[in-house]
Amino acid sequence: MKILLVCSAGMSTSLLVTKMQKESQENGGNDEIFACSVDELEEFIDHYEVILIGPQIRYKAKVIGEMAAKKNKGFAIIDTVSYGMVDGKKVLAQAYGLKNS
């Protein structure tokens, strides 16, 4: 699955990406996970199936959610607890939940 994480600078989520990739590899998954900044989103969005945004840019959720819906992408704000704990496993599960729904 192709998952794009978005936050203000793409920095904090890039650490989360590393954790999610580790989790994915351990489960033998073949996921492509990437983090970018809000400003880079338009450049990258087409390549991904699911868009997850960091809870710290919740104020951008409406705009990004509409963009994702228009392009038929799954979209959610990363669960705040999973984010705070830097829990790659839970965030990966959240992404998969979006794809299935």
Binding site: Q56, I57, V86
Partner: protein, 99 residues
């Protein structure tokens, strides 16, 4: 809490604060001042939570408990400072809209 969780929690609270502050600004622009005030109260609560973590870190350092300062923690500080400034400026801007 692990080091990186400390940084992520600061980013989380700072980001929530910034989101609430921007909501307050939007409400003020639409002349919904009660809503703007309520959002600012929420922003302040989030900043206090973020600030508390920072204070804990400072106090731990004063006690001689050395924490590793990494780029992520600096980034968290950046988020917090930005959020504090957003809240301060938006408080003023809400007053300007009221005039």
């Amino acid at each position: 809490m692990e080091n990186e969780q400390v940084a992520f929690t600061i980013i989380l609270h700072a980001g929530e604060a910034r989101s609430h502050a921007l909501e307050a600004l939007k409400a003020a622009r639409e002349h919904k001042f009660a809503e703007a005030e309520a959002s600012l109260v929420l922003a302040k609560k989030q900043l206090i939570a973020a600030h508390q973590i920072q204070t804990d870190l400072l106090q731990a350092e004063a006690r001689g408990e050395k924490k590793e300062v990494n780029l992520l923690l600096i980034h968290a500080q950046d988020h917090l400072m930005t959020a504090i400034l957003a809240k301060d400026l938006i408080e003023e801007m809400v007053l300007m809209f009221k005039k």
